[in-house]
Amino acid sequence: MSTHLITDAHLESPDDFYEALIETHQGLSTDDSHALNARLVLLLANHIGSLPVLREALAAAREA
């Protein structure tokens, strides 16, 4: 398991993922979309698990 955040291309199928992501929000109000995003962040964070990696992700997101 990587001990650093992967920022190089790593998605199996980037266009399919992006389409699915937008599709998931289809028909939701902005508030509901925010809530969905928050749940998604938590699910993915749990999948990653490693606190150092998550901290790198938090920092990278903040800097962008």
Binding site: H34, A35, A38, R39, V41, L42, L43, N46
Partner: protein, 561 residues
Amino acid sequence: MKLEQFAAADEAGPLDYQQVEFDYVRHADQDADAPVRRPVVVVGAGPVGLALAIDLAQKKVPVLVLEGGHQLSTGSRAICFAKRTLEVFDRLGCADRMVDKGVSWKVGRVYFGAEEVYRFDLLPESGHERPAFINLQQYYVEGYLVRQAATLPDIELRWKNKVVGLSQSDDGVRLTIETPEGTYELDADYVAACDGSRSQLREMLGRQTQGRIFRDRFLIADISMDADLPVERRFWFAPPFHPGQSVLLHKQADGMWRVDFQLGWDADPVAERQHERIRPRVQALLDSIGHAGAQFQIGWASVYTFACQRMARFRQGRVLFAGDSAHGVSPFGARGANSGVQDAENLAWKLAAVLRGEAPPTLLDSYGSEREYAADENIRHSTRATDFITPKSEVSRLYRDAVLALSKNNAFARSLVNSGRLSTATVLRGSPLSAPDADGFAGAMVPGAAAADAPAARTDGSIGWLLRSLAPHRFNLLVFGTPAESAWADALQDEMNVLRLPLDAAHALAAQRYDAQPGTAYLLRPDQHVCARWRHGDAKTVRAALDRALGRVPAPSLAAA
């Protein structure tokens, strides 16, 4: 009533602790030509002051307790007493009654909106004498401590003795004390300020607490009711009967329940305390859990705010601050009284050692550094719980609600739900009194940790408990294996209590918890915290560790934090 009358009335039958009033009694000190000098004066007869006084008196240090009031705690106040606190009270010989009277619970339910999102079973690890915690009204805990204090000739309790002045020099503290019959002065070698969150002694010394104040108000009330509710802790996030805010329901002794309603900052603290305002809130709660017809009475009620803060230094010369006077936390996680009792036991053995000349006064600096470190840990936990329970920004609420929404079907999210992480003993990592490990060990009993309990054989062969087998007021050397495997320890019998545990089936759990092999030895401080351990000890090394734990050798550059 006088202490003897309290003891007699308590023996005679159920005594209403809320009605007990202790007598003010004039003392010869008030008529002395010059201020009388006492080794230790404890200011405040709450759980922290009483625990400290009992601990000192059992160590044969004469102690005077000054209390401005003359009653036990008004209302249930601190109701959760944690395992470690019960172990401290065991050491002081008074936990049995608390556990018998208190309510042990292990099931908790968490609700979000109208729905139960999960239930947890604490199922505390077996092989400990005491449960994870009990719920018991603070006035019972105080009353039982007063009973214990009354048996000790080295304790004197003076009610309606309020400290109104304090000055200190290098060699002592002078107190001015106000009584119904005027003021008098008293000198002390040391003063323990256990006078609560609005500490007058702290003010007199011009010291502040610093930290975070939360702009929120909570209604807390004692409710007696005939409903046959299961003994469970229920915590609601944003339930329909109290929209957008949190509610807690918890069982106490005597069929009493504790309710806690978050009200928000704009609530009127005076109006909300009125029974006619409380009644519909409780009724709505009961309606929602299917007990609409239950009869209930409202007892003590209070609207509180809180801050997570502490004094920069708990030792101020010869004045030592302990409990709420030194630090404040939110109530979530029961870290107020529980951490205060740990302060008291940390301070008791150090004060006793200094007063007996066994340790230099600088040992008291370690009281400050160790308990400031512990306060930071408690503040960190309680701040996190508070931020979860009462989110202070839109995004904080968004994530809080996301966690709760996920928690029903996703086990991982339950680990993020924080309605208070319950108090455990602080591991005093990096304490200058601990010797770092020279040998390899696994498990939780690292230097600085409070000794874990486990079944242990009594001298008569029956099975008792490890912590109960320790000498309650001395250093203990806990050695595993046969006497032949640790013959070197016999030379230490005069300096500490040597307790040997055989590595047999009866002690398998102890051996596991202490990662013990034949000859493994742990040096435990009088407060039962590990200060050193070895695979193979020898008297010289153990003595060096003892010297270090008593601050007799210059502290290495390690700081407790």
